[in-house]
């Protein structure tokens, strides 16, 4: 049963990876990478059941956290060109520009 789910998840991962490499815009790639991370979380969980070591679920939880924060960080970087504090310009200069 878990072998069937693992094979289906692997096929889904390959298909989503094709979109990551082919994606027309940046946002297609970010969306596909996010979906790939979600599938990876599920795959780690299924793999834990398949190998009868359900401790893998801790790794899956950690991967879910990192995946979400990573997606938000990529989007923030490409919108503001900075990951840390966003450099604020003067309001007058901003309104003029």
């Amino acid at each position: 049963m878990f072998a069937v789910a693992a094979i289906a998840l692997l096929i889904a991962m390959v298909i989503v990876l094709i979109r990551v490499f082919r994606g027309e815009t940046l946002y297609d790639r970010v969306l596909a990478v996010n979906a790939f991370g979600t599938i990876t979380v599920l795959f780690i969980g299924v793999l834990g059941f398949l190998m009868e070591r359900p401790d893998f679920l801790d790794i899956a939880m950690l991967y879910a956290l990192i995946n979400f924060v990573g997606t938000i960080a990529i989007l923030k970087f490409f919108r503001y060109r900075a990951i840390g504090d966003i450099p604020r310009k003067d309001p007058e200069e901003e309104a003029a520009g």
Binding site: M1, F2, V4, A5, A8, L9, I11, A12, M13, I15, V16, I18, R19, E24, T25, Y27, D28, V30, L31, A32, N34, A35, T38, I39, V41, L42, G45, V46, F49, P54, L57, D58, A60, M61, A64, L65, F68, T71, I72, L75, F78, R79, Y80, I86, R88, K89, P91, E92, E94, A95
Partner: protein
């Protein structure tokens, strides 16, 4: 095999197989849909239906143990963060000026100007 074990097996089979089917459908949608805004829908299918069904199936298989609690925690987390991340990607794409390619009823959206990012807007309102 008692009746309860048979029920558990059948239920978890059903949940895991339907979750895998939803994930495959969503992945094919991500590959085949024509532009970014329609691919968002396919990713939503994976993020909600696939994840929830697969995790419920695994939790039924695990029984009332700590493993099921961990699976439920992962499920709640993915159920909150999946739509949040999708919304963030869609908002970033809209602000950057990406628009749908086709669609008769979408003229007002296609012609809409890109809104300013929040930081700029707050700076303008503060002035």
């Amino acid at each position: 095999m008692s009746g309860l074990e048979l029920l558990v097996e059948v239920l978890s089979w059903g949940f895991i197989l339907s979750g895998s089917a939803f994930l495959l459908i969503g992945a094919f949608g991500v590959l085949r849909f024509p532009d970014f805004w329609s691919r968002l829908h396919a990713v939503s299918v994976m993020d909600s239906a696939g994840v929830i069904l697969l995790l419920i199936g695994m939790a039924i298989q695990a029984g009332p143990t700590l493993i099921a609690v961990k699976l439920i925690i992962i499920g709640i987390f993915l159920f909150i963060t999946g739509p949040t991340a999708t919304h963030a990607v869609a908002n970033a794409a809209f602000v950057s000026g990406l628009r749908p390619k086709e669609g008769e009823g979408l003229k007002s959206i296609i012609d809409a100007p890109a809104p300013q990012p929040e930081a700029k807007k707050q700076a303008v309102e503060a002035s």
